[in-house]
């Protein structure tokens, strides 16, 4: 297997602060790679640079062997790299359906000439895109809000919409930034199955930031751990969970983060 994303000693500075510091990592084609690390480790910043939303201060980023450092994000989209945002970036004054329908590119109706003079062709394309969007909504179980303004969605629904957009078109690589946060666990199970299916059947590569260890354990191999802006270690989740450095920096004592058992018992005891 070859690497589809290669990050080579990339740094990002905000003022004097190194959010990402000489970070080198790679994501194998066809893998589901996890990215974990403490809050503020620089994971989202790294994503933003890979996806072209931020420009690195130094270093190079290769996508499918091509140097894409500093390219704007629409150029990366054209190379079929899709991403979600950790803090939902919905188009708040557009309906949920429109939010999805705007995603596919090369729409004839997006050019003035097409919009003016090729109504039939535009109509045909629209029909297909709409059908696709409705499928996605069904899958995410938010069909009932399809004509709602996206700004009026609940927090979790926005995250689902965020994910839904990446399902609107073919992709080579999908970057998922904490899609689990705020999403109902039952639904999350379906999402995870879908990710597995896309990965297996269509060969999508996923690069996933997540704090939910169950999800990471279920989906990701390998897992990369970032801390303080650079890669701390990487490997299989089982090894990671037992790495004392990771436990120290990330899990804070126990590898699952369940420090609450004692109290739970106390609650039981109350009248």
């Amino acid at each position: 297997m070859s690497a589809i994303i290669e990050v080579k000693s990339v740094s990002k500075r905000f003022g004097g602060f190194h959010a990402v510091n000489d970070c080198t990592l790679s994501v194998e084609k066809g893998s589901v790679t996890g990215l974990i690390g403490p809050n503020g480790a620089g994971k989202s910043t790294l994503f933003n640079m890979v996806a072209g939303t931020l420009e690195p201060t130094s270093g190079t980023i290769l996508f499918d062997g091509e140097d894409v450092t500093g390219l704007p994000s629409h150029a990366l989209y054209k190379r079929r790299l899709l991403r979600t945002f950790q803090i939902a970036h919905e188009f708040s004054n557009m309906t949920v359906l429109e939010n999805l329908m705007m995603v596919p590119d090369n729409q004839t109706g997006e050019g003035l000439i097409g919009a003016w003079f090729m109504p039939v062709r535009v109509g045909r394309e629209e029909e297909a895109i709409r059908r696709k969007a409705e499928e996605v909504l069904d899958f995410l179980k938010i069909t009932h809000v399809k004509t709602e303004l996206a700004g009026n969605l609940s927090g979790g629904q926005k995250k689902l919409l965020e994910l839904g957009r990446t399902m609107m078109t073919d992709a080579k690589v999908v970057l998922l930034d904490e899609i689990a946060a705020g999403v109902n666990r039952t639904l999350l199970n379906d999402l995870a199955s879908n990710i597995e299916r896309l990965n297996r059947e269509l060969g999508y590569t996923f690069f996933v930031i997540e704090h939910d260890m169950d999800l990471i354990a279920r989906l990701c191999d390998p897992v990369i751990v970032m801390a303080a802006g650079s890669v701390m270690t990487q490997g299989h989740i089982a090894d990671i969970q037992n790495d004392p450095r990771v436990i120290e920096a990330y899990f804070g004592g126990s590898p699952t983060g369940n420090a609450t058992v004692a109290h739970a018992n106390q609650v039981e005891a109350r009248p």
Binding site: G156, A181, T186, G252, A264, V267
Partner: protein, 234 residues
Amino acid sequence: MSLLEIRNLHAGYGQMTILKGIDMMLDAGEIGVIVGPNGAGKSTTLKAIFGMLNITEGSIHFDGHDITGISPEKLAAHKIAMVPQEHNVFATLTVHENLEMGAYTRRDDYSRVMDEVYEIFPPLKDKRRQAAGELSGGQRQMVAFGRALMIEPKLILLDEPTAGLSPMYMSEIFDRVIAINKLGVTVAMVEQNAKQALAIAHKGFVLANGQNSYTDTGRALLDNPEVAKSFLGG
């Protein structure tokens, strides 16, 4: 008499009704956890308690006072604090100023609470002079939670406080909830990390489609296979 009593609450945004009869009782010193699918109306319930939307029917009482439809800024005076799910920090204010704003209604010396917050969340201490908008997602959650602690509330409403936090801080938040609860603070929280949350809850509420669908002790809900399958992810 419960500390927080919500009876037959109907509320919504503009013309649209989202909550169609919610009942919820919390005694002083309890932790109540609200779970449910996305869009069930969990956040809306919290917002309704906080006077942020139109209540068309039903009532909310706090500590014997009718607080139905009272404006949010008055609730702070009742020592109720809330952490909204989204937009829960002042992005252009520094971390320190965010915390100060949390204590806006306090006229006494609150430096002790402030120190405590910094102690719970060490990353905030490093970033105290930085604008909250420049923080990572998880760091913002810490700020939001810390801000709510600043008035030393009697009742704290938390909307998914652990979303986006690393396991370490997730347990930190749960620990903190337990700790303040032990001091007598009543907690109402919405959580998607439902299993952990219900485990520490005295009461659990499952909402679906703007209505109560299950109400029980946390433990009992966890053990209910029906609930576990449809709402807690098996």
